[in-house]
Amino acid sequence: MLALFYIFIAVAIGVSFWQITRIMNLRSVIATDKDNETQGKLALGFLAFLYAMMIYCLIAMNVIMLPEAASFEGEHDDNLFNITFWLIGIVQFAMQFLIFFFTYKYRGNKNNKALFYADSHKLELIWTTIPAVTIVLLIGYGLWAWNNIMYVGSEEDPIVIEVYSQQFRWDARYAGEDNQLGLGNVNYIKGINTMGVDMSDPSAQDDKQVTELYLPKGKKVLFKFRSQDVLHSAYMPHFRAQMNCVPGMVTQFAYTPKYTTAEMREKDEVKAKVEGINKIRRAKGEDPYEFDYLLLCNKICGASHYNMQMKITVVEEEEYNKWLSEQKTLAQVIK
């Protein structure tokens, strides 16, 4: 019924528009010199608006950004991002200036003549070569960083952890003493064996299933991702890490945590962000927020996609070992 009401309102607006046009001057259709004058100035005004917005966003939104990367691999990402962002920032400011300033400067007038200037191979060569060289350099650095992040050498001996996804929760499995995960398949899912681990596999016995991630600072961690139903994506923004979880295959991603959760909480930029958030939360009468690393789902996966998270805690190695030794092995839990 309400929909009808809205449609009625829309029709009413349409009719009033129709009436307004009866008295409007519909003969005014082609830009005159006066229009060029006005619109040219508006273009200049728009340039000012655009600059103001860009500068405001760059400054004021600094505080909401993710803090410095919390993994060693993420450093590459941050460096590359800074270089790229500066570069595109400069080009953006310059190009927008040229576009709207020229619109103003060369606004039409019947006494003016446009310059017949159809081609210049020299200019075109310049603006093909400069982007090309810049881009080759960017690609070079980018690919170097990509390879550093994506390839895990066997000599690095990373800790293996499985991250397991389903609608709408995350679980994790530590590989235990042998640092080898027992095989898993959906056919083994039964009762408390929610991750479908093949319990006849010897390497599965010492695996440990948990609902929160604990990671040791300074040790490389190799995540193996599985999904039991639809695509999910394990997104750990603070570590600059993300990988899809794909049913039917195992994907992976590795990084080395750089700061413990406690250290991260002491960083100035994190404190500033947390303070900003808590100011909002206090005003709404909500509990204060404390910084934590998170793993979020970042691939549309169903109705509760927006609420699929797992806490990550980075601690010193001793504390990590202590925590891990307190967790029960699958052999203890399932058998």
Binding site: F46, M95, A118, P131, M150
Partner: protein
Amino acid sequence: MSDHHHKETFVTKYIFSQDHKMISKQFLVTGIFMGIIGGFMSMLFRLQIAWPDTSFSIVEAFLGNHQTDGIMDPDMYLALVTIHGTIMVFFVLTAGLSGTFSNLLIPLQIGARDMASGFLNMVSYWLFFLSSVIMIISLFVEAGPASAGWTIYPPLSALPQAIPGSGTGMTLWLVSMAIFIASSLMGSLNYIVTILNLRTKGMKMTRLPLTMWAFFITAIIGVISFPVLLSAALLLIFDRSFGTSFYLSDIFISGEVLHYQGGSPVLFEHLFWFLGHPEVYIILLPALGISSEVISTNARKPIFGYRAMVGSIMAIAFLSTIVWGHHMFVSGMNPFLGSVFTFTTVLIAIPSAVKAFNYVTTLWKGNLQLNPAMLFSIGLVSTFVTGGLTGLVLGDSALDINVHDTYFVVAHFHLVMGVSALLGMFAGVYHWFPKMYGRMMNKALGYWHFWLTIITAYGVFFPMHFIGLAGLPRRYYTNTNFPMFDDLADINVFMTVMAIIGGAAQLIFIANFFISMYRGQKATQNPWKSNTIEWTTPVEHIHGNWPGAIPEVHRWAYDYSKTDENGEYVHGQDFVPQTVPLLDGEEPS
């Protein structure tokens, strides 16, 4: 052809018309109608993002049993996002843009009586109409329309257990898209054949206006890539309905193991993006073609670097078919492939930069007639630059890891492809409205429409980059479960307000469009003093376009302000239509 005495009835003239001019109007009006639906959906879900716990009677009014007390359900939120994307990408910016202007301009600008096959052209429109109807019907099925995102990745799109929209809603989506693809292919083949075979005397390929080059290359990439989407859709239909396992394997859902073995969703991603990426250029290139023409005409200046512009269209089109993997850097694909796709992707920046610089140089020292169409084209260059630059972040695999599927991506593609293409489409409508309807659109309303649109477009999508950099994933029904995103709430409110103003501003356009159609000032034959030959046809449409012989073409389309050494116009005026022969001793440009 013109001397055939067709007996035209209402039905053959307005409904099952084979005249390209009528078909183009049919595409445009259908596209605008779909645009209203797609745009309205974005208003609804922007309300949800900004005020997730607030009850809205408009939500209550339109979403029926998919809302509770004026707050939409999470399923419905995803459905709205999905259908908004589908409608805008395919129905508005592919069919609405390409269908309208390719149909209108190809015969008129190359000097042909009509498309190579008028019948195929008519079928193409009616298939598009049918697919639109099916897509709209899918909004009304009990469990809701398709809601797995416009990219419809399986298994989510394959299993109704995973999300209710993957039932009948998804079936209708697939049927609608299959028909849409057939329509698009018929159109594209027609465009290619017409441009290659039906050019008038003197219209060499090197004299084609840039609009023609853009539509021609667009049609080619459409023909190359759309069939792949069709095959992807067919395999998905097989998985959904006939128990095959192309995309599915090892699935445990709703307490049971499904029988699927051996398929992979990554295969679907490859097939989908093999269309999906070229699709970006299928949308964008026509808009760039339109703006080239509009900017040159209104700057009273030749487009700078015609050959470079054609070359970069070709380079972009070629590269667009070998970059699809940049949507899949974190899909689990081999990292080596990621390197290859990074390389090819970032290369696209080079021809794109050439285009942007050439536009700016065309403005330089021009005599800019700031008509609404011109402003929209300038706006297109602006958003194309803003949105294109962030492509350097997303195309770089190492950087993509952290911004993949965040709002940074949403901001990027809305600016570079959504807003740019829409601005190009508006530019085209304002510029060629006199050719379509024999009347002019009102300029004051056009100015209001432009400034409100460009300000709100930046207001929505510029801050959006930053909430993406704050790590906010896209397609979240609400962010309130994550205190780390609490400080983004105000920005989201700002963006929603901007979006609503921007949406309302489009009503100005719609009013201007329909009112001018009936009441606008009568157009003169060549209102913008343009060189291209569509302006040599009579204002009143006739079948076969030109009453007598088709004019012969003697020069390229960009002899604006051509002066001799004394600074006098060679032809006594600042434009020289393509049909004017060269004077004695005049150098061709």
